[in-house]
Structure formats: structure tokens, C-alpha cells
């Protein structure tokens, strides 16, 4: 009896914990191959309709970079039933918000509405996929807008060329070597037919996932999803065959220049495994260990104690085919970039040879617990996590189980992964320098 009570109590406890965390969802496929995920949460009268397409900056024909991002603009131009320029009006005049974003791996569109406009959201996303208007006027207008976006975010922004410089030096053959926004010459040279062909190839229901999350009634939502998306024809399967990079065995040294900066930066960047791999989760933890919070190794040493750096940061940029692990620092005063690099190396060498302390290990776990709770705090966040987990990581339930992976990572693994991927001969050393007037 006592034993029973005990297990009941622990069940209860577990139940409370799980309730606070568990994200319930339901999945199904339409006949045309569109994958649909529903998540019901009626606590606030808000609903999100979002579609993630398996197409990103890495998907392009020769000399036609930047197409995926360009589409993220083009597909707001209008559809057979939504007049040109009306898209945003339809959303805002119904009290909604919408946006889209593109990475090298995928493109994501969404609307958030008060929940009485669920049907509107589904209609709009189905219109976008079924029959958007792709014409010369739209292409010409968005071509200029994209150029302004490039000037704003890259050419006129301090350190705006960071990622581009890392990509082009770290990748030799894989399309990750190109900029997500693409080369403007490529976009200028692209014909309307090429844009239409790109749409036909990638914007097919069998290459996408629809997520509806928030204040919904599941049965009614299912019917509406079928009504609006069911008639869209399936397309050919998207087949990719990207060339594989050969491992880096000798340090790549490179320089990049930026017109908008006074203080240089040094970056050590490593090509690391896909974010699907367990090792990538380990690298997430390593980046937190190095620079997550004021007590982290790099911040404490470089910024605080030795006063060598204005900023020091490690990031694990998770991607589908290869991730990028980068450590960057901005020197303070006359500190040389080489000395910053040496200091970083010292810490990485420690990681590769010694186990991190039990206390630091527990700290990392606590940080990831906190991150996990916060990652599912809005229906918009939940929708994007569900879509990403399905489309890119192949397991929707990671939204509930990803934390288990972090919990299970050992100190030994941290050491081993650092050893396997973070040695100086496996990396790019990039000096990111202020551009002088005569350069």
C-alpha cells in the first residue's frame, strides 16, 4: 500500500511536470502530400497558420543565387483571388500580423489572427501555394526592394558581411558557400520563366508542411484544411544531390573588409555536423559553455578579467547539411587579433583535454532547461518549432523530447566532440577588417 501511494505520488508529480511542458499535436497528410500539424491551445483567442517550404538559399540553378529569398518577397505580390498589393491589407484589415523569412535551408510564411479569422489564414496560405501571380511587374518591383534590403542589412550595416564571409570561405562546393540573399547580378539576369520554373519545382504541397496552432476546433480545422488545400495538385518530388565537402585539414586563412566599421573582428569558424546529429546538440552546449552568460569562459576571461575584447561570442549555427560553429571576438584597444585567437584556443584546448567541472555541467543543463521552457511560450513559437522539427529534423515530437537529448549529454561527450571538430587545422580563421578609403 505504501509502495502504491509512493508511485501514485510520483505519477502525480510527473503529471504536473508533463502538463506544464507537453505540447500536444496531431498530424495527417492530404492526398497531395501536404503534411499538416494541428496544435490546439484555447487559452487565448489567437491562431497561427503557417507553411514551411523545403526550399532555401541553397537551392539554386547555376548563376541564379538568391531565388528562395526572392520568392519570400514575390509570393506576397498577389494570387488569382488576392489582387496585387492587397495581401498585407487583407491581413491587417482583419486584425492580423504576418511575415516570412528564409534561411539557407527553408522558407517560412505565417499569419497570426484573432481566432475568428482562422479560415482567412488558411485561404491565404492555400492561395499562395495554389496560384500566385508571378509576373514581370512583381519581379521588377521586388528586385528593387530586395536590393534595398541588401543595402540596409548588409552593405550599410556594421559587420553586415560576417555570415557571407564565413560561408564563402568555409564551403568550397556545397551551395552553403553562397549568400542567402544572393548576388544581385544573378537576380538582375533572371528571367520571368526562370522564376516560374522555380515555383513549379519547389512550391508543391508534397514539399511543405502546414501548421495550424492556437485557439482552434480540431475537427472543423481539419475540414477547412482539406477544403482549401485538398485541390492543389501534387508536384514532382524534389530531389537534391549537393556535392559533399571534403573535411578541412589545414587552417584556411582569409580576410574580409567592411566599410561601416572601425573595430576589426576575428572569427574562428568550423564546419560541423547537421543539426539533426547528436553531436550538434553537444556543440550547442559547448557554445553556451564558452559564451552563455557573464560567468561563461570567454566572456569572463576576454571581456571581463583580461579586458582584451569588447565582445566575445560562440555560436552554433545549426543547419541541415552542415552546421557552422563560430567563435568571434572584437578587440578592445590595441589588442591584436592573433592574441585573441590564442586566448580562444587555450580554452578550446582545455575543453578537448579536460572534463568541464560538475558545477559547470549542471549549470549548462539548467540553462537548457530554462531555454526549453521559454521556447514554447507562444503559439507562434510552437508552430515554428513543430514545422522545423517535421520538415528539417524529421521528428515532430522533438518539441517534447529535444530536452531529453540535452539532458543525456555527458561531460565526456563534450570533451570528445570538442576534440573531434574544434581543432585549429579544421577551421577558417577570418580577419574581418575596417575598409580603408583606398580599398
Amino acid at each position: 500500500m505504501k509502495k502504491c501511494l509512493f508511485s501514485l505520488a510520483s505519477l502525480l508529480l510527473f503529471g504536473v511536470f508533463a502538463n506544464a511542458q507537453q505540447v500536444e499535436f496531431e498530424e495527417f497528410d492530404l492526398d497531395n502530400g501536404l503534411h499538416v500539424i494541428l496544435h490546439q491551445d484555447n487559452t487565448a483567442p489567437v491562431v497561427i497558420t503557417s507553411v514551411m517550404y523545403d526550399v532555401g538559399g541553397k537551392d539554386f540553378e547555376p548563376n541564379r543565387t538568391g531565388f528562395a529569398h526572392f520568392f519570400e518577397h514575390l509570393l506576397f505580390e498577389g494570387t488569382e483571388n488576392i489582387a496585387r498589393g492587397e495581401w498585407f491589407n487583407v491581413v491587417s484589415s482583419n486584425g492580423g500580423s504576418n511575415n516570412a523569412n528564409t534561411s539557407l535551408d527553408r522558407t517560412y510564411y505565417y499569419e497570426i489572427f484573432p481566432s475568428n479569422n482562422l479560415e482567412l489564414g488558411l485561404w491565404m496560405e492555400s492561395e499562395r501555394l495554389m496560384h500566385p501571380i508571378i509576373n514581370q511587374i512583381g519581379v521588377d518591383t521586388q528586385n528593387e526592394v530586395v536590393k534595398e534590403e541588401k543595402r540596409l542589412r548588409y552593405d550599410n550595416a556594421p559587420y553586415g558581411g560576417f555570415l557571407g564571409a564565413i560561408g564563402e570561405n568555409l564551403f568550397k562546393v556545397h551551395p552553403y558557400k553562397e549568400k542567402n540573399i544572393g548576388e544581385m547580378e544573378d537576380l538582375d539576369a533572371a528571367t520571368l520563366e526562370e522564376f516560374q520554373a522555380y515555383f513549379k519545382k519547389y512550391y508543391v504541397p508534397n514539399n511543405a508542411v502546414l501548421v495550424v496552432a492556437g485557439d482552434i476546433d480540431k475537427a472543423k480545422t481539419k475540414k477547412m484544411v482539406k477544403d482549401y488545400f485538398g485541390a492543389i495538385p501534387r508536384g514532382a518530388d524534389v530531389v537534391r544531390n549537393f556535392p559533399k565537402e571534403t573535411p578541412i585539414t589545414e587552417t584556411i586563412k582569409a580576410k574580409a573588409y567592411d566599410n561601416n566599421i572601425q573595430i576589426p573582428a576575428v572569427i574562428a569558424a568550423y564546419r560541423t555536423p547537421s543539426f539533426k546529429e547528436r553531436e550538434s546538440y553537444v556543440l550547442d552546449m559547448i557554445s553556451s559553455y564558452l559564451s552563455g552568460g557573464k560567468s561563461s569562459v570567454l566572456y569572463k576571461k576576454l571581456v571581463d578579467e583580461k579586458k582584451m575584447a569588447l565582445q566575445a561570442q560562440a555560436i552554433n549555427l545549426g543547419q541541415m547539411d552542415y552546421s557552422v560553429f563560430a567563435i568571434l571576438a572584437l578587440p578592445l584597444g590595441d589588442v591584436s587579433l592573433d592574441s585573441l585567437l590564442n586566448e580562444m584556443d587555450e580554452e578550446i584546448a582545455k575543453l578537448q583535454t579536460e572534463l568541464i567541472s560538475e558545477r559547470d555541467y549542471q549549470k549548462l543543463k539548467n540553462q537548457f532547461e530554462n531555454r526549453y521552457v521559454n521556447s514554447n511560450s507562444s503559439v507562434a513559437g510552437i508552430a515554428e518549432n513543430l514545422a522545423t522539427n517535421y520538415l528539417l529534423k524529421g521528428d515532430v515530437n522533438l518539441i517534447n523530447t529535444e530536452i531529453e537529448i540535452y539532458r543525456s549529454i555527458t561531460r565526456e561527450e563534450i570533451r570528445d566532440v570538442a576534440k573531434k571538430y574544434l581543432s585549429p587545422n579544421q577551421r577558417l580563421e577570418l580577419e574581418y577588417l575596417p575598409k580603408k578609403d583606398d580599398q
Binding site: N89, P114, N116, Q262
Partner: protein, 691 residues
């Protein structure tokens, strides 16, 4: 019977498998509006005056604490930056916990704790609520402020300022604030390396003592807490924070708006985009009766993607990635702004279009649709914001900070929905003041100033720290050996040679004409004959000739919509003295001077001044191709001067000579573009054409 059932079943099934049950050509209509449930936080006040607001929300096991100290804004003068140093130094240990231990513990809890010069924010999993609260309180009341940390923070701030020196956006923000409010106002003053170097360690503790007191403090708690329990914890942690003597200070007035529309230009040679910011101060508080109407007016003008500004500058003209406007309602001084970032080449046009849209909302009633849409967006945003438990807390805090009526948010949507089109026009005229606005433009002078001057808006010049300066000079060095006459020679080489030019007696040009914002596109017929006869006729299909302009060598007239006007004596004299076909053939060397080399649409061009008959005009020749690319003339009509700029491009051959096929003529904001379809040389033109 059986067949009936299966037929019925079939029908039933079909209803669910056939997709054509919806009419997708019609936009779905919203269902019944969801109920809005606006909860109020629970509140209490500590004896020392600190007010506490608690929003319990148990959805996720987390909690946040947000401390706001509502001090009056103060200027820091020669020591500007002291507040940000204090913000940076705090939250790094307490008098009883070392910095290392303190920061390590925050990180160990997986928590966050940040301070600013007027508050702090902490968040953590709810199991650590009491500990993070304790650390926050200790760091607020007993911060570890030591000289060594001061030096570090100061060096970091200076480096941070350096890192922003070339940022167009940072400069635009700084200069915009400084010019709008004045540098003697807390909202207008800014931190420089110099002011940071003036700060001494003693200033830090002085600022802390003066600013961090419970008198005007608000602590907002949101999350997985129990009110009773957290109340007693807060009383325990913050209860002995000592109340200070109330300091009476007054906030200085912002400088008045300017008397006339002006461009305030800052030259940044590294800019690839110009930052444009139209700004005027306003007297608007959240509890003013106009507040809701101003929100709606701003929403329509520049408060979203579908706004006037964005639809014009981004969607119609593709000048920018985005254009927005904003109105700050503020207890002390508010401000209206309209801003965008555009590529260098269209800076002037973007300024003109921005003014046009601001003036439009002042002069034209907004459409019922725009009004309805703006309201719907506010309703929607209000509903969407309710998803976050922070919203209720923010609303309650706003009521206190801005002395709002307690039902401000309950009646918010009702008041938004009551705004009329007349209200919008009225408040637009009260608060959007382009006639008293500065248009702060930060950009690359050598590429944008020429065109900005043509807008006719007076330009004043400032450096990156808002100090007035002389107009910068942008001329590039003229290469050795280049003179006015070599430029003219190069021009003739490019178009086909002097001898061939001399043989041209008449030109008959047909062009498709587009006039900015005009609903029609006329056809233009232009004829000229040596030495100076000209004829221009514009016609529209179905309407015939709508405009004529003629000069036959001795007299001339203009005719528009049936009204004929003879040329004045001065105009006749001007026409007589000019040559209309290859005037370069007739220029006296003594009338020409090579002024400078500037950039036109990204290419270098030589600027030649032509002084004839007591008047100066300017002709620009491309440095590479030799072609004439621009002619600039100033004329005076009834006391007003107009600068007319003709741009030429797209040169192509006719009878072995090169002629421009794209011509654009702009006078002030008006732009007429001509796409030439045909140049006929020495054919089809007779004397009669000019009468």
C-alpha cells in the same frame, strides 16, 4: 432499401471528399469576434513606496520580475554617459557577494538578471523565483560599485562608441534626436568619447544614490507564482530599501520646431543608403483626448505595411525596404517622425514623396476603407497581445506611469472605433507638421546633394554630432590635361564628329511621354531647325493636341487647353540667342569653364559652366563616354526661381550620329520622362511647323 442507404452514404461521403464546396474566389469572412478577457493584476504597496503588480499565470513554470524606477529624465551635460555606465556596472555583485559568485549563480540557475540606469529585469524558472528575487533586490539596494569595474565599463563604452562611428543608422539616430529636441534636453543629448572621459568614479555612486530609490519604483511580477507567497517574499527582500527625500526637478523644454521645412544634411562618405527622418516635436500625452485619433492617423500614414508611406516608397517606387512613421506620446515632450532608408540615387525623390504623403493625410479625407482597416488592425493587435501574460502587466503599469484613467484599456477599443475621418484630418493637421519639420538626411553627399538641392528645400549642414558646418565640397580631382575644350572635343568624338554635326539642319523627334502621377501618357512631337526654331506638341489619343509650344525665330507662343499665350520679350530674346541643334558648335571658348567632376547616377561627369547673355547654365558630360548627360538651367518666373534639369541617356545612332533616346526633364518635384521612338534627321520638317 439497401441501395437507398448506400446512395445516401455515397452522397454523405462525397460531401467530405469533394473539395469544390468552397468558393475560393471570395475572401472568407470572420466568425463572431472572440471574447476579450482583460484581467487586472493584483497589487500592493510597500511601506517605502514601491508599488508591486502581480500577474499570476501558471501555464509555464517560469517567472519574471521587472523593476521600473520612474524618475524624471535629466540631462547629464558634460558627463553624458554616466547613466549608461551605472546601468552597465550594476547587476555584477553586491556588497556581500563577489562579482564572480554573483554572476556564476545567475548563470547556474539558468536565469537572467540585467540592470539599466532606471530599473532591472530578471527571469527564471519558477522553482528559483525566491532566489532570483533575492539576488535582484540585493543588487538593487547594495550594488558592488568599485573603481576597477568603473574603468572597465568606461573603456567598453568608449570602444562601443567607436564601433558605431561609421554606422549611418547610429549617426542618423543621434543627430535626429539632438536636432529635434535640442542637445540640452535629456532626449536630445548624447554620449561621446569626450563626455565619457569626463566621468569620475564618484559620479557613479552619486548617480546611483540619486536614482535608485523606492519612491517611484514599480515591481511587476508575471508568471507561475502564488500571490500570497510572493507578496511576503517581496516584502522580505525589498522591505528595507530606504526611501529617499523626494528631489524636485524640472525637465527642460525641448527646443521649438523650426520655422520652415528644411533639410538637415550630414555627410557620411561610406553610406550606400541615405537615412531620411522627418521630425517635429509634438505636445501629446497618452491621456489626451486626441490620443486615439492620432494612433489611427499614424497607422494610416505610416504605421504598417499598407500605409501611405510604405505603399508609395516601397511598393510603388521601390526606393526602400520600408518606410514608416511614428508618434511618441510622452509625459514631457512627444515627437512625430516619418523615416526610411533609401539608395543614394533616389534620396531626393524619397524626400519629395515622403512630404507628399504627409501632406496628403492632412489635406485629403482618409477613405472609409483605410479608416476601417486601421481600426481593425488595432483591434487585432489588442487581441493578439493578450496571448502574453506580460501584456496585462504592461497595461497596468502604463496606467500608473502615465496617469491614465483606470479604465483606459477597457475603453481603448471603443475609443479607437469611435475615431472618424474628420478626426484623422484634424489631428493630422495638429500633430504632423511638415511645414515646421526638419528632414534629417544622413548620406553620401557626393552622390546625393546635387539632387537634393533641386528639391528647392533649403539645406543646412551638420556634422555627425549635430554641430552646424559649412556645406561640404564633393568635387573629385579633375584629371590632368582635361579642360573645357577637351571635354567638348570628346563630346563631338562620341556623337560622330563636328563636321557631321554641322550638316544637321533639322531634327524631328517622336516620344512617349510619362508625367509622374498623371493618369495619361501623351505622345510628344518635337521639331527643331537651325538656328533656333522649336516646336513641341503633346497629344493624347482621343483628345488631340493638348499642349503646344512654338518659336519661329522671331515670335512664339504656348498654348494649353485652348489658352494661347505669346512669349514675353525676354523669352523671345533668350530663344533668339540660343542654338537648339548641337549648341556646342557655337560656344565661345571664353564662355566655358570646367567647374568640377561629380557623380551622376553613379558615373563620373564633367560639369561645364556656360555663361551666355549674363546667365549661367550647366552642362554635364560623362567622363568615360563623352556624351552629354545633363543640362541644368535656372529661370525666374514672377520672382520665383526654378531649376530645370534635363537628363539624357540611351544614346543610339541615326545617320551616323548618336542621339539620346531617353530624356527626362524635372522641375522641382515634377518629372516628365520621354522615351524617344524616332529621331528623323534632315527630313519632314518645314518652316510652317514653327508657326
Amino acid at each position: 432499401m439497401k441501395t437507398y442507404i448506400s446512395a445516401f452514404l455515397m452522397l454523405f461521403l462525397m460531401a467530405f471528399s469533394v473539395h469544390a464546396q468552397i468558393d475560393r474566389s471570395k475572401q472568407p469572412q470572420p466568425g463572431p469576434a472572440p471574447k476579450i478577457d482583460l484581467k487586472s493584476p493584483q497589487e500592493f504597496t510597500l511601506k517605502n513606496g514601491m508599488k508591486v503588480l502581480v500577474v499570476e499565470n501558471h501555464k509555464l513554470p517560469r517567472v519574471s520580475f521587472s523593476l521600473t524606477i520612474d524618475n524624471k529624465p535629466e540631462t547629464e551635460g558634460t558627463k553624458a554617459g554616466v547613466s549608461s555606465l551605472v546601468g552597465g556596472m550594476m547587476g555584477n555583485g553586491t556588497t556581500s557577494i563577489s562579482k564572480e559568485k554573483f554572476n556564476e549563480e545567475i548563470d547556474f540557475l539558468g536565469a537572467r538578471l540585467n540592470f539599466s540606469s532606471s530599473g532591472a529585469y530578471a527571469s527564471a524558472l519558477s522553482q528559483y523565483a525566491d532566489r532570483i528575487l533575492e539576488l535582484m533586490a540585493d543588487a538593487t539596494m547594495h550594488p558592488l560599485l568599485v573603481e576597477d569595474e568603473f574603468n572597465k565599463e568606461r573603456d567598453r563604452l568608449i570602444e562601443g562608441l567607436k564601433s558605431q562611428e561609421k554606422s549611418v543608422e547610429a549617426v542618423a539616430g543621434r543627430v535626429g534626436n539632438a536636432l529635434s529636441y535640442g542637445v540640452k534636453h535629456p532626449y536630445g543629448e548624447f554620449t561621446t568619447i569626450e563626455t565619457v572621459n569626463n566621468i569620475k568614479f564618484e559620479d557613479i555612486s552619486a548617480f546611483y544614490e540619486e536614482s535608485f530609490n523606492p519612491n517611484n519604483a514599480y515591481l511587476v511580477v508575471v508568471g507561475d507564482v502564488n500571490f500570497k507567497k510572493i507578496k511576503s517574499q517581496i516584502e522580505k527582500r525589498f522591505g528595507n530599501w530606504k526611501k529617499a527625500v523626494d528631489v524636485q526637478s524640472t525637465v527642460p523644454n525641448a527646443i521649438p520646431n523650426v520655422q520652415y521645412t528644411q533639410i538637415n544634411f550630414v555627410d557620411m562618405p561610406n553610406a550606400v543608403q541615405s537615412n531620411i527622418l522627418l521630425t517635429n516635436n509634438v505636445n501629446l500625452k497618452m491621456n489626451d483626448p486626441d490620443y486615439h485619433a492620432v494612433l489611427i492617423a499614424n497607422k494610416i500614414l505610416g504605421g504598417g505595411f499598407s500605409s501611405y508611406l510604405n505603399m508609395n516608397l516601397r511598393e510603388k517606387h521601390a526606393y526602400t525596404y520600408g518606410a514608416r512613421s511614428g508618434v511618441d506620446a510622452d509625459k514631457y515632450v512627444g515627437r512625430f517622425t516619418a523615416s526610411t532608408a533609401v539608395r543614394n540615387m533616389v534620396t531626393d525623390s524619397a524626400v519629395v514623396q515622403t512630404l507628399k504623403e504627409v501632406n496628403r493625410i492632412k489635406s485629403e479625407p482618409v477613405s472609409a476603407e483605410d479608416l476601417r482597416n486601421a481600426k481593425a488592425k488595432y483591434v487585432g493587435d489588442f487581441v493578439l497581445a493578450l496571448e502574453s501574460p506580460q501584456t496585462v502587466a504592461r497595461y497596468a503599469l502604463n496606467i500608473k506611469l502615465n496617469n491614465l484613467p483606470s479604465d483606459f484599456y477597457e475603453t481603448f477599443l471603443q475609443k479607437i472605433n469611435a475615431v472618424t475621418a474628420e478626426d484623422v484630418t484634424r489631428v493630422a493637421n495638429t500633430y504632423f507638421k511638415p511645414e515646421n519639420a526638419r528632414i534629417v538626411v544622413v548620406g553620401k553627399g557626393s552622390e546625393v546633394l546635387e539632387n537634393l538641392e533641386k528639391t528647392g528645400i533649403p539645406i543646412l549642414y551638420f556634422d555627425a554630432f549635430a554641430n552646424p558646418v559649412e556645406k561640404p565640397k564633393f568635387s573629385k580631382p579633375i584629371p590632368d590635361g582635361v579642360t573645357a575644350s577637351t571635354v567638348i572635343d570628346a563630346y563631338f568624338n562620341a556623337v560622330g564628329g563636328k563636321e557631321k554635326a554641322k550638316a544637321v539642319k533639322s531634327i524631328w523627334t517622336t516620344a512617349n511621354v510619362t508625367i509622374e502621377d498623371a493618369p495619361f501618357s501623351p505622345i510628344g512631337e518635337m521639331k527643331t531647325m537651325i538656328p533656333n526654331k522649336t516646336s513641341l506638341e503633346m497629344s493624347i489619343e482621343g483628345m488631340g493636341v493638348i499642349m503646344k509650344q512654338k518659336f519661329n525665330g522671331t515670335t512664339g507662343y504656348t498654348e494649353q487647353q485652348g489658352v494661347k499665350r505669346d512669349l514675353t520679350e525676354e523669352q523671345i530674346n533668350d530663344q533668339k540667342a540660343s542654338h537648339t541643334i548641337f549648341p556646342e558648335l557655337y560656344f565661345e571658348p571664353s564662355t566655358l569653364s570646367l567647374e568640377s567632376m561629380i557623380s551622376i547616377n553613379g558615373s563620373d561627369a564633367y560639369k561645364i559652366k556656360v555663361s551666355e547673355n549674363g546667365k549661367d547654365s550647366f552642362r554635364y558630360y560623362d567622363a568615360k563616354s563623352g556624351y552629354l548627360v545633363r543640362v541644368e538651367k535656372t529661370t525666374e518666373v514672377q520672382g520665383q526661381t526654378f531649376t530645370t534639369v534635363e537628363d539624357f541617356g540611351n544614346y543610339s545612332p541615326v545617320k551616323d550620329m548618336m542621339y539620346p533616346y531617353s530624356i527626362s526633364v524635372s522641375t522641382g518635384p515634377q518629372v516628365v520622362k520621354m522615351n524617344v521612338t524616332n529621331h528623323r534627321v534632315n527630313e519632314g520638317v518645314t518652316e510652317a511647323d514653327f508657326n
